[in-house]
């Protein structure tokens, strides 16, 4: 014990002292802890708090000499690469967007787009890897996003609070709707949701004229609401769409075929199974055919096949499938 107290303990304290010093020196160099901001107003100050706090923008962006992240473009005026700060730069970028899209983009439209659809117009030299800020884990709400827009516009630009908040343009309104839909769906990423849809749903469902026809057409599905869509994914039997009931056909030899009744003519019926196979049964061979409202041919194990993130993403994607206006 004497050895421990007289020799080892001082040695340990020395090592810990060095450890503390390193922690102190690095904190001095890089800044202290990051506090999340509480609820903020739609103001540049609120946006600044979110930028350097809850929004985690500082993980990838810097503002001039403030911050040291380089993964994303610097939002301040910085060296030869960024002669204009974000507010002024947005005006230039908006002109490019207008030219490319053939529709009028304002600086605010462009900035809102860069948050709502970060992959739409990526700054040259940077990757399309920006996080969706209205999806978990960042999960900014619309009010907080507006505050960040206000903050970015003050960086070398003109701040028009009305255009951000009370009187947004049609373009901005469209992006706000997208953000709101995604937020309502638990904050999923609609872009990633499209891929999840492609992987899991497109073989059976039609969307905007494309896809399989085994299941209901999902064009304009958002009109049915989040609860319905959510239930239809997790417990498909509880939300059967009329015309897509599950039929159980039993022939005289006792063989059972389960699926959609896709043809019913005088002499025979077609049952389309979940895998798309069509089984034609002569009516004379049928012992019985009935609707089983406890079953859906849609797989009921999607919750197992998808992660929470996939589920949130696909919900947000489906919530964006608005009904087409009447021609």
């Amino acid at each position: 014990m004497n050895v421990t107290i007289t020799r080892v303990l001082p040695f340990l304290l020395l090592v810990l002292g060095v450890y503390l010093w390193i922690g102190y020196a690095i904190t001095e160099l890089t800044g202290g802890g990051r506090k999340s901001s509480a609820a903020v107003d739609i103001s540049p100050e609120g946006g600044e708090a979110i930028y350097w706090g809850k929004g985690r923008c500082f993980t990838c962006h810097s503002v001039g000499g403030q911050g040291s992240a380089v993964r994303g473009p610097n939002h301040g005026q910085f060296g030869e690469k960024f002669p204009l700060a974000m507010g002024a730069r947005a005006v230039e970028r908006a002109k490019e967007r207008t030219e490319k899209e053939g529709m009028e983009f304002t600086a605010i439209d462009y900035t809102v787009e860069s948050l709502a659809s970060p992959g739409a117009y990526v700054v040259k030299g940077y990757k399309n890897e920006m996080a969706v800020v209205y999806a978990p884990p960042i999960s900014l709400n619309l009010k907080e996003i507006k505050a960040v827009i206000a903050y970015l516009m003050t960086l070398g630009g003109d701040l028009d609070m009305a255009a951000i908040d009370t009187k947004p343009s049609e373009v901005t309104l469209g992006f706000y709707a997208k953000i709101a839909a995604a937020a309502e769906a638990g904050g999923g990423d609609p872009g990633l949701g499209a891929q999840v849809y492609e992987d899991n749903c497109t073989d059976c469902h039609t969307l905007n004229g494309e896809g399989g026809e085994v299941g209901p057409d999902l064009t304009g599905i958002s009109a049915k609401g989040l609860k319905f869509i959510s239930e239809a994914i997790l417990q498909p039997a509880k939300a059967l769409t009329k015309g897509f009931e599950t039929y159980v056909a039993v022939d005289k030899e006792g063989r059972q075929t389960v699926g959609l009744k896709t043809r019913d003519e005088a002499g025979e019926v077609d049952i389309t199974k979940a895998n798309g196979d069509v089984v034609t049964i002569a009516k004379g061979e049928l012992k019985e055919i009935k609707i089983d409202d406890t079953k859906s041919i849609m797989p009921d194990d999607l919750s197992e096949a998808m992660t929470v993130k996939d589920y949130q993403d696909i919900l947000s994607f489906l919530m964006l499938q608005k009904p087409k206006p009447a021609e």
Partner: protein, 716 residues
């Protein structure tokens, strides 16, 4: 060393019963708390405080202390059993005594771990009732299983420790009995094979399947197979102890993993899948793999610290010799675990990225980028100090002087690698400094050292250099290599089998790279050449491996080793180190394949070279007996420093892993709405971890002291 009767630190009689009663009471209370807690859906989070203390820091501290002791308790049995097996196999009582002494440390720490675990559970349930209610609702089945496994571990530990002398000596069991155990072993092996082929749990993740196979099924099958007398039965109990310990760790890890990558629940946190899905979340097994290796290294080094303290205070040459040997084995075990640890970390990091790019970016380029610089300092120090300890150990080996000349080169390689590993990705610079660098925040030269390809290259070089030190150490008192051909078929077949498996590991990845469609990595077809190049390098590596084996079998093993080590060093450090930058520029997603290929080449090379070396110097003429105890006191401080450093590093890694969730209790599902929902600074981290390290070390010293007086009492 024959003082080992039934002495725990608390003397002979009441210790086991007291421990068992204590554990049972603690677990019962935990069980009641769990059982009484309803499954909360998401609701307003309730937070409480006790005596005005910051609840988060309190939980952080308690969890850290529990994990320190837990890691020790889980790590030590792993190598205690291995050392016991070595002693049993060689009929060398020295190893048996060492294994027993390691285990005596374990029994002391076990109760403290359980007490801290109970305290942590109470603190969590009382201070974070909503969060814990939710977790208990999801994991209630697993929590009960966890509690039950504690019974298994407790009984296995006491059987193992207190039955050491009882299960010693005696004759062989009857033939019928031996066949019964072999039959059970075969049945377990058959189940294992079915499990491996997907007959059981077809949906299971590959990593989880291998984890269960290698750490539960295989040890159990081997354990039953070897039972033939009382001693082998004792070893089997040791294996059971490890199986229980590993299972406990894996279950608890699943909760930590779930908090980072929740599965089986919907966006509102409602369980829509199965408990198994929640348990087998994306990060659960990568964390378990990383922690398993970390525990082994940590357990080894804490035991090494015990040996170092005893060595420093030793009065007689015999004592010094004993504790020197103990320290050496501890360090050896730690290095063996440290070598694959960076790769386990890399795998965990990759899975973190795949779970959430935000979490991944925050880890390497956000809040924790500088914490990782501190981590790099600590890990680099671990390797450098381990090498120093090995070099110091060469002073006790007659004949090792021949190899001293290599040390300066190894040191140079280590320091250069260390410096590169420490180079940050981007430097904190003033605007003026940035302006002087033409507006770029990347330093024109240092940027090449701060990026991932450079770091991957040097971590491989550090491992190769450490392995080279180990080769020099073990050859120290061997006069020269012996003929492998003269050793009969056994030696050649062993080299062939192990070599073939190791090379096949590389070859299968070569085939994967040569066939891979760039579209799998979201790359256009014209980027295939970057993937193919990795395949060609791997083929070259395989050829070098085959050449090394052929040379070894024709008694030119040293040349074979040199060729294989040289080719591997060139491939993983120089070629792929530089090529990594090309890949990063042209086909960035392929960078992860580069890293995997580096790992496979390195591991394969280490295995083949080590096996060749084992036969090359088997029964080689000795230049003198190992002079255990002839070590400098300075080297013992190195051993102590290793322990301090790994403990600090464990605390730091815990901070990063937990902090990655940001202001979420359960990432993306349950927000942390408390006033502590922010990432503390690195200074706060070093304060918190430093305090935990200090208390842990004081706790260890106290327990070792108690163990010492108990032994003294027995001797008297």
């Amino acid at each position: 060393m024959e003082q080992r009767q039934t002495s725990g630190i608390f003397g002979s009689e009441p210790a086991p019963r007291r421990f068992v009663r204590f554990c049972l009471a603690g677990l019962l209370v935990l069980g009641l708390v769990v059982a009484a807690t309803p499954a909360f859906a998401l609701e307003e989070n309730v937070y409480r405080q006790v005596m005005g203390i910051d609840s988060r820091r309190l939980i952080w501290f308690l969890a850290q202390m529990h994990l320190f002791f837990g890691a020790f308790v889980l790590g030590v049995p792993l190598f205690a059993v291995i050392i016991e097996v070595v002693g049993w196999n060689n009929k060398d009582p020295k190893f048996d005594n060492l294994a027993y002494e390691f285990t005596s440390l374990l029994s002391v720490a076990y109760a403290t771990t359980a007490a801290l675990g109970g305290l942590l559970a109470f603190a969590l349930f009382t201070l974070y009732p909503t969060f814990m209610g939710y977790m208990a609702g999801i994991f209630k089945d697993i929590m009960f299983l966890y509690a039950l496994l504690f019974f298994g571990e407790t009984f296995a530990l006491y059987m193992y420790y207190y039955g050491w002398n009882w299960l010693k000596g005696g004759g062989l069991f009857s033939t019928g009995m031996q066949w019964l155990f072999k039959g059970i072993s075969l049945a377990i092996a058959a189940c294992g094979l079915t499990f491996l082929l997907g007959g059981i749990g077809p949906e299971m993740r590959v990593d989880t399947r291998w984890f269960i196979l290698l750490l539960y099924i295989l040890p159990l099958a081997v354990g039953f197979w070897i039972i033939r007398d009382r001693k082998s039965s004792h070893i089997f109990i040791g294996i059971l102890l490890n199986v229980f310990g590993t299972a406990i760790m894996q279950l608890a890890n699943s909760w930590a993993g779930f908090m980072m990558s929740p599965a089986g629940v919907d966006a509102d946190g409602v369980l829509v899948g199965t408990v198994w899905q929640a348990f087998e979340n994306v990060l659960a097994t990568p964390i378990a793999i990383h922690r398993m290796l970390g525990n082994l290294a940590f357990g080894g080094l804490v035991a090494g610290a015990y040996a170092a303290v005893k060595f420093i205070g030793a009065k007689t040459p015999e004592e010094k010799a004993h504790y020197d040997c103990m320290g050496y084995i501890s360090n050896f075990v730690a290095i063996a675990a440290l070598i694959p640890l960076p790769f386990a970390g890399y795998y965990l990091g990759r899975e973190v990225y795949s779970t959430s790019a935000v979490m991944g970016n925050n880890m390497m380029g956000g809040d924790f980028s500088w914490t990782f610089i501190i981590q790099a300092m600590l890990v680099g120090s671990l390797f450098v100090i381990s090498n120093y300890y090995l070099w110091s150990g060469m002073t006790r080996i007659p004949g090792a002087q021949r190899y001293y000349k290599f040390i300066k080169y190894i040191l140079f390689a280590l320091i250069v690698s260390f410096a590169i590993w420490l180079t940050p990705h981007n430097l904190p610079l003033t605007s003026q400094e940035v302006g002087e660098m033409a507006g770029s925040q990347y330093h024109p030269v240092l940027k090449y050292l701060g990026l991932m390809p450079a770091k991957n290259a040097v971590v491989n070089l550090i491992i190769l250099a450490t392995f080279f030190s180990f080769l020099l150490y073990r050859r120290g008192n061997m006069e020269g290599a012996v003929s492998i051909r003269a050793q009969g078929k056994g030696a050649r077949i062993t080299i062939l089998i192990i070599g073939s498996v190791a090379i096949a590991l590389v070859a299968q990845y070569a085939v994967t790279m040569l066939k891979m469609d760039p579209a799998e990595l979201d790359l256009p077809a014209d980027r295939a050449e970057y993937i193919r190049m990795i395949g060609y390098v791997l083929v070259f590596e395989c050829i070098a491996g085959v050449v090394a084996i052929i040379l070894a079998l024709t008694d030119r093993g040293k040349l074979g080793q040199a060729i294989y080590l040289g080719v591997t060093a060139f491939n993983v450090t120089i070629f792929l180190g530089v090529y990594g930058f090309v890949v990063m520029e042209k086909a960035s997603p392929v960078l992860r394949n580069v890293a995997v290929s580096q790992f496979l080449q390195l591991i394969s090379c280490l295995v083949v070279v080590a096996v060749i070396d084992a036969f090359l110097f088997k029964r080689a003429k000795s230049l003198g007996e190992m002079q255990w105890g002839r070590m400098t006191v300075r080297s013992q401080y190195a051993l102590l420093l290793l322990t301090f450093v790994i403990t600090m590093n464990m605390g730091l890694m815990g901070f990063i892993r937990s902090g990655l969730r940001g202001d979420w209790h359960i990432f993306g599902v349950m927000r942390d709405t408390s006033e502590w929902a922010y990432t503390p600074s690195n200074f706060v981290m070093t304060q918190q971890v430093g305090a935990a390290v200090l208390l842990f070390m004081i706790g260890c010293a106290f327990m070792f002291w108690l163990g010492g007086i108990a032994s003294k009492k027995q001797e008297d």
